[in-house]
């Protein structure tokens, strides 16, 4: 192809610009880390705290990210309303847990008191997701790509403000569970019990999902549909049913994540789904969207980065109160991955049409 000097110049200036961008980010990370470590402002114990917090936070992101990744794998669509499904799970669990708490059930059986709200949240989230799929997504399955995305944005707002209408704009305090208070001392480092329980619970749920996807007939069908819808239909798979179950399973995990999130932060609000939703999407893209182990890995990486990032990268550069920019780190990671490696860590490189 014949290229004029002007075109070559634009190409060069753009790639130069992109390289400048990369260098800037790398510089921030390297210089920030260097200065922070040199100043010795944080003790080893604090770093461990950051990492543990990041892992428990990240496992929640991973749980939500699975829903994004599974739906994307099958429908090539960003389920923008997934964060709201997460929020609806937290809300359902809140009401049940409060009731269980007032009748004294939680104190008597702490395990069941934790488990029952989680199961209830999973159930409610799955129901809401199936409803959303039926009303807002299914009729648009063959529409141009932006159409379902806009419909999903609409669904997200609809759910958010429905919950606001039902339960008001206030912040609800998730009831305390006595058994989860306090710390466990592991290798001489005190770690909050909640964080360990959350990480373990998330790991268990993800293991369950992995078994479903890899070992059951349903999982096999799901994998087949995500590979090729039409061929799967020819093989006698009811594609509609598989899509609905994918939504339901993804939503159930988001619902469980909602409860775990509420356990850590102890509050429930109609707007709580937005930020974790975007971050979980970031995790899904980070790990390679459509890729289930990738989503788990991406969640953990994002959680840890976000937790240690402000202290490690920003503090050293003399930025005041770096914690205010915690979310900005996550968003920057999001933009960077979308720009430089849209296929993520584990994903195979998607053709440009798909991405």
């Amino acid at each position: 192809m014949k290229t004029t000097l002007g075109e070559r110049l634009t190409d060069w200036s753009i790639s130069g610009f992109m390289w400048g961008f990369r260098i800037l980010i790398v510089f921030i990370v390297v210089a920030g880390t260097f200065f922070t470590l040199q100043s010795g402002k944080y003790t080893g114990e604090q770093w461990i705290d950051f990492i543990v917090f990041g892992v428990s936070q990240g496992s929640i992101y991973a749980l939500i990210a699975l829903g994004y990744t599974m739906v994307y794998g099958i429908l090539r669509m960003i389920n923008f309303a997934h964060g709201e499904i997460f929020m609806s799970g937290a809300f359902s669990a809140y009401f049940l847990a409060t009731w269980l708490n007032t009748i004294g059930f939680v104190d008597a059986n702490p395990v069941l008191g934790l488990l029952i709200p989680i199961l209830f949240a999973m159930f409610m989230s799955a129901c809401i997701a199936m409803l959303v799929e039926r009303v807002a997504y299914r009729p648009l399955r063959n529409a141009p790509r932006l159409v379902p995305l806009i419909s999903a944005i609409g669904a997200s707002f609809f759910l958010q403000y429905t919950f606001r209408g039902f339960f008001g704009p206030g912040v609800y305090a998730y009831p305390p569970i006595k058994a989860l208070e306090g710390e466990w001392v592991i290798f001489g480092v005190g770690i909050l019990k909640v964080q360990i329980i959350v990480a373990v619970a998330a790991a268990l749920i993800m293991a369950l999902l992995y078994i479903i996807v890899m070992r059951t007939k349903l999982g096999k069908a799901m994998r087949a549909v995500s590979e090729d819808k039409d061929t799967a239909a020819l093989m006698g798979i009811d594609v509609n049913r598989i899509i609905v179950s994918t939504f339901a399973i993804g939503a159930a995990m988001a619902g469980a994540a909602g409860v775990l999130y509420a356990l850590i932060y102890r509050q429930v609000n109609f707007f709580m789904g937005f930020t974790p939703g975007i971050k979980a999407f970031t995790s899904a893209v980070l790990g390679g969207i459509g890729n289930i182990p990738g989503a788990m890995l991406g969640g953990l990486v994002l959680g840890v980065f976000e937790s240690i990032g402000p202290a490690l990268f920003l503090d050293g550069l003399g930025i005041i109160r770096p914690y205010q920019l915690k979310d900005a780190i996550a968003y920057t990671m999001l933009v960077m991955i979308l720009l430089f490696r849209p296929s993520g860590i584990l994903g195979e490189r998607l053709t440009s049409k798909k991405a």
Binding site: E7, T10, I14, F17, M18, F21, M77, I78, F95, V135, A136, P139, L140, A143, R145, L146, V147, P148, L149, I150, S151, I153, G154, A155, S156, F157, F158, L159, Q160, Y161, T162, R164, G165, F166, F167, G168, F274, I278, F281, V285, I319, I320, R321, P322, Q324, L325, D327, A328, Y331, T332, L334, V335, L338, L339, P342, S352, A355
Partner: protein, 574 residues
Amino acid sequence: MKKENFIWSSTKIGLLAGAIAIFLCLVGMVEVFSKRDVIEKVLTLGMFLLLATSILAGFLASRRTSELLDGNKAPSNLLAGAIAGLAMGAVLAFFVLFSNQVNLRAVFLNVTPALMQLLTFNQGVGGVWQLPVLGAVSGLAGGAFLLIPQNFRKPIVQALMVIIFLALFSSLFRIIMINQGGGIERTARTIFSQTGLTITGGLIFFFGTILFSVLWSTQRERVQNSVDRLPKKGKISLRVFSIILLAYVVIMLPQAAGPFIAQVVVIISLYILMGLGLNIEIGFAGLLDLGFVAFYAIGAYTVGLLTSYGEYGLQHVSFWVAVPIAVLVAMLFGGILGVPVLGVRGDYLAIATLGFGEIVRLLAGSDFMARWLGGPRGIIGIQKPCIGTLGEFVAVDVPRVCNGIELGKPQDIYYIAIASALLIAFFSYRLRESRLGRAWMAIREDEDVAEALGIKLVQAKLLAYMLGAAFAGLGGAIFATLVGSIFASSMQLIVSINVVALIIVGGMGSIPGVIVGAIALIGLPELLREVSEFRFLLYGVALIAVMLAKPEGLWPSETISRELHHDEVAETTS
């Protein structure tokens, strides 16, 4: 295939409508809207919502019955409508009885005694039987609608729509008319009540619209013929006359309506401005940008820093100098942020730009940038525009004296906003017809084909991005001046979603669509406190509904609606 029984299908529709009715109650719409009347003492807006649901259910059931039984037959259609309405009323009645037994309010905030009073017609639980009866009657009416001859259906629907429209905007019309004084004021007082239409007003408008609509449908050809027969000069003068009339209304509106309405109209015109800007990205070039608020913020902060007489003001220049700079700065940032995302397509672009928007907001509100941007305290004391010369800057927190006319009131900013909106409308109209506009549309349809045809993707996309950013910057600049202060907390994603929603509801790529969308989506919630509570809920519904029913929007551009319906066209021609 065995056909469904129409009684069962009607019941199903009725139950669904019942669920919707309960939803409307739980979300609080029924109670809040019942503070406003459609027709005074007869029908509140809240009751109207429920009635409209059951009428619609009756209509749908009746239509489904006609499908099942192959044709309209009076008894079965009426029966279907009544069944659907009855089912909905029964569901609602069951809801009332249930919440009488169980304390739902512990979970759902809106199950208030006041709502129960409304649903039982102030008669306590004993009055609950009226719900199914009313449901059946209104469902019957809905079912009967299908039996009315086609020619009469349209006028009736139009008359109802006119009444609802007037009732919703009654406060606006009432204020304008009352401000005129004299006979107009007296008319206003007979037609409009404090909260809606009066009975007289309702009757006048209902029959007036029907009469007009029937007359129009019979006389339209004659009117059109006589317009066509006019000599060329006459046609031109008719056109000039209507433009002058429109301009007069637009110019006089804030004067006639007072500061509150003027403020609302300023906000509408600002959103028209930003809508037209984003329309270039979404509508023309097909780049869904959810980070629009970033450029809005950049425009606002630039004007703030340049003109503020508060502690963060840097230069203290006048509004007229600051705005072009703000537009250029926003455009520059559009380029800087645009270059990296050029390669990202479709829904990834939406998320990447959303990330940008959030980063800008977080940075602007953080303590890190507070030294320059005021952080959470924001920038205050933005100089109002001044026609004439500005006095010297004396000290912090002392506005510069304006020797001339100071455009301080919302009414004054209104003219600036309208003038810029007009300019941009003209600009984007010309752009759409230009070579660049056609390149954008080609990119929207298929990037690879566009590139193969020799369109320079990088250049065209970057230009779309930068122009959109420039308009957003202009919107932010005017907004900052209007409010007189800027806070990072007001630069939420919501602003971007507002703009996206109005473009999509109005019609992607269509310039009049943006105006219609801005009036409907921004104006209505600003005017009606009742609606503004449910603003984003309604946005959500509107986005989904538009995508499901009419992806081209309320006022589509011709090309887009042709594209979205090309299957149908192909079917009819083949």
